[in-house]
């Protein structure tokens, strides 16, 4: 059985370490905040200028002057700090973030990522994605293994305009947890009930099955 979006987020949350500063992108990445393991304290960054982002507010605490990068109303946790966009991206570009989790339309076996533009369609812009992939050492991509037409999103080479080059080393999809090493995808964990064959058939890029490949646990 392929993982739900919530389960993808749950698997990624297991990678979080106590004390980390983490930026979560829009979509599945945002859900990671719901599964932070017990005893692990992470500080969430919102690139519009907040460290220490809390949950959505209750009705009486809604503040138009307090939103996240997805323009959603949020709250601040004790110890939060506010800053301007230049300082925010100094944190990101300067390599101060411990982890970035973001979605993608395509990734490839060289670690390239495409997630901002489909030629011929309305281009909305890259927002902070290019800065995040260029500036963070530790990135996890959260996405479905195939697109809605059933085509692999794990490619030999990205076909869409790139967001960043040679920057992705880990991906959690609805089928598997894979790393990117030496120009190939390495299958590390399978979603419960998913076979190596299924992952192979939906991975367009070169795939190496790790000797110790195992089933994902939650």
């Amino acid at each position: 059985m392929a993982l739900s979006k919530q389960q993808i987020a749950q698997r990624i949350a297991q990678e979080l370490k106590d004390g980390w500063y983490v930026n979560l992108g829009i979509g599945i990445p945002t859900l990671v905040a719901n599964y932070i393991p017990e005893g692990v304290n992470v500080t969430l960054q919102s690139e519009n200028g907040l460290l220490g982002m809390g949950p959505f507010p209750t009705e009486d605490k809604v503040d138009a002057d307090l939103i996240n990068a997805g323009k959603q109303t949020v709250t601040m946790l004790p110890g939060s700090v506010l800053f301007n966009s230049s300082e925010s991206f100094a944190m990101i570009r300067g390599g101060h973030m411990d982890l970035t989790v973001l979605g993608a339309m395509e990734i490839d076996q060289n670690g390239d990522i495409a997630n901002w533009k489909i030629p011929g369609k309305m281009v909305k812009g890259m927002g902070g994605a290019m800065d995040l992939v260029a500036g963070t050492e530790n990135i996890i991509v959260a996405m479905t293994h195939a697109n809605k037409h059933g085509k692999s999103k794990l490619l030999k080479q990205c076909s869409l305009p790139l967001t960043g080059r040679a920057c992705i080393r880990r991906v959690v999809t609805d089928l598997a947890y894979l790393t990117i090493e030496n120009g190939a995808f390495v299958l590390r964990e399978l979603a419960p009930g998913v076979s190596v064959k299924e992952v192979e058939s939906l991975t367009d890029g070169d795939l190496v099955v790790a000797d110790d490949v195992c089933e994902m646990t939650f």
Partner: protein, 231 residues
Amino acid sequence: MSKKLYANAREALAGIEDNMTLMLGGFGLCGIPENCIRELVRLNIKGLICISNNAGVDDFGIGLMLQQRQVVKMISSYVGENAEFERQMLSGELEVELLPQGTLAEKCRAGGAGIPSFFTATGYGTEVAEGKETREIDGRMYVLEPGLTADFAYVKAWKGDKYGNLIFKGTARNFNPVMAMAGKITIAEVEELVEPGELDPNFIHTPGIFVQRIFEGVDYEKRIEQRTITQ
């Protein structure tokens, strides 16, 4: 010093002309200079180049200027949620330069700080780097990005005094401080104008030297794009 103080947007925006380059603070609709935009719409100045992280929504923010076709070029990082914007962009009426958000912020900071260009790894190997100088520094490739300035920068703060010192609230700070630095003339609208000395110097975000004109805004709508609630 008190020459910085203006009564309202109408007085403060004197001198704006067609074909100028403007910076407008804000992220989405958060921290946008609502009073200045309202006045720009009333003046119906045309041919503007607008530097702003986003382009508003159809019926608010910069979207109001787009409705009147006042803007010929937008320099932004993200321009979704705006149907009229999309129509003008696809028809070629509106030129759009998309830049990574951090690069855009740093271009404003650099422009305001007297740094003509800087190297960044962001965007290397992507469309954003096309036509730009690149250089290898310590084994990594970087893109040269010029700093940005503007004829006028419009910023919105929470509190300010007649010296132009500003304090922002929440995430409404965003691009406002760096754009304040980069405007040849920076106009700050504040929710609350206070007496000099009332702002603790330890907690001022934008020193008044970056602000040439200031006025107290009225009728803030502060529209929320995504009202998300915990039950």
